[in-house]
Amino acid sequence: MMAMSHTSKDRLGNLPPGTVITGKWHGHSYRLLRRLGSGANGVVYLAESGRRRVALKLSDDYASLASEMNILRRFAKVQGAALGPSLLEADDWQSPFARRVVPFYAMEYIEGEQFSAFVRRRGKEWAPVLLMQLLSVLGRLHEEGWVFGDLKPDNLIVTGPPPSVRLLDVGGTTMQGRAIKEFTELYDRGYWGLGSRKAEPSYDLFAAAMVMIAACYPGPLEKKGNGRAQLLSIIETDRFLAQYKEVLQNALDGRYAKAADMRRDLLAASSRRAAANYEVKTAAAAPNRRSGRRAAKRRKTGRIAETVLIAVLLLGAYGFYIYWHLSM
């Protein structure tokens, strides 16, 4: 059964750009532009509908697609900023390739960069910043009685500017108190031997800590022996992560009941780090002063340019005034 769905998923995953998908219930057409990615139960394409760009998720699993749409609809009802992409339309496509009906839904296309790529390009210091944003989002999700479940860098996208983090792929979102629906081993506390798979806020907070660790750890992570000891030693040996040891360890051990608590500690650790950096910089005074002088110079040039500009404008206005009087 699953083996069969795999082959047809390959076919769904290789639709050529330009393919037009028309819904049989609502009759709207979508022209595929390119593939964005594929998840556990479907493929996502960037598509065009009229002049609007949307993300289209196709799957051959009616059931999981319907469950996902339920979650997206629920998210839409949560007050404030959107928690995931907003759902636009659901329909079925009579596919000439698969010779059968393929269910799909259209959702908002969130343009941005994957979390890991962003942190690699812009620097580790972004990891805690984005994590704080993420914790605010998770906090709201938890208050509504949900747990995101499959939290990992691939499911986080950074939009902007200014950079802000958004959640993608809500397939793992689970009602609190139930069993986590979907997860990825590396970000699953069960895999690391550090807790159950019950959907509770601390499950997401464990994964959030793992997202930060993975962002700073070079090379692939894999569990070897005692998971907790391994993770702690990774944190201690990395100079950047070591500054956040306390927060990360609390999250890994499931000691935070609320995202807000973890966020508060993360913020405190970051400010401590900023303060320490400031002291280091003031102590090493020479480069600091030089950069200060350069800034003063820049300010001075700015002021001169401003004066000249005003003078020119005034002269121009005066010239025009005279010309106008003469021609009368």
Partner: protein, 246 residues
Amino acid sequence: MRKGTLRQILLITDGCSNHGEDPAAMAALAREQGITVNVIGVLDQDTIDENGRREIEAIAAAGGGMSQIVYAKQLSQTVQMVTRQAMTQTLQGLVNRELKQIFGSDVSLEDLPPDKRGQVMEVVDELGETAALDVLILIDTSGSMKTKLPMVKEALLDLSLSLNARMGENRFSVFIFPGKRNYAEKMMDWTPKIEELSTIFPKLSSGGLTPTGPALREAMAYFGRNRSLRSWIHDGDEPYIEGSSW
């Protein structure tokens, strides 16, 4: 009293049967009794031969379950996924049958407008979370499986982690084949604590024939008297389906 229960056989093997009845026929027989048969084919590095693959897919298809062929390393994630997806599939089948009852014709999830499917899935998700589940784990210990047994153990502990997080109750039992006296030998009786498994794994010895078909036959007998799955949906004070509005 226990409400009706979802019943599954999880067969873990690495190759072809070479003794006794056709395992696909035995899986079909299990299905007739309301037992779903899922099959996981475990590989080392080398690829499985075509006959093995075909047999694995045939058993799962006949048993109304799922099949997946994996490398030993990915076993944990696969075992829990296959078990859960098969549950959803079974429940969905039940709900589809209910839909037919309501609409009097061939209506299934696919025939409903996309916006209505969500309501059906909420019922399925709810049942999947709360239903009781019996999983009989049937492990092939013939010859080449020996090196994979530690991974099988890991995978089963991981399965219990996933299932025990559910609200519904679970029971597990473990059989291996070939057994010493019978085709299938009971290693662990029905228990909610699969952790006990750790104690039996060192005892497993491997070797001999691969009587997959006969082992399946003996395993299904262990489930005892058949209870119709449909009766289970109407078992409560109120039928689930009629409670939801369309």
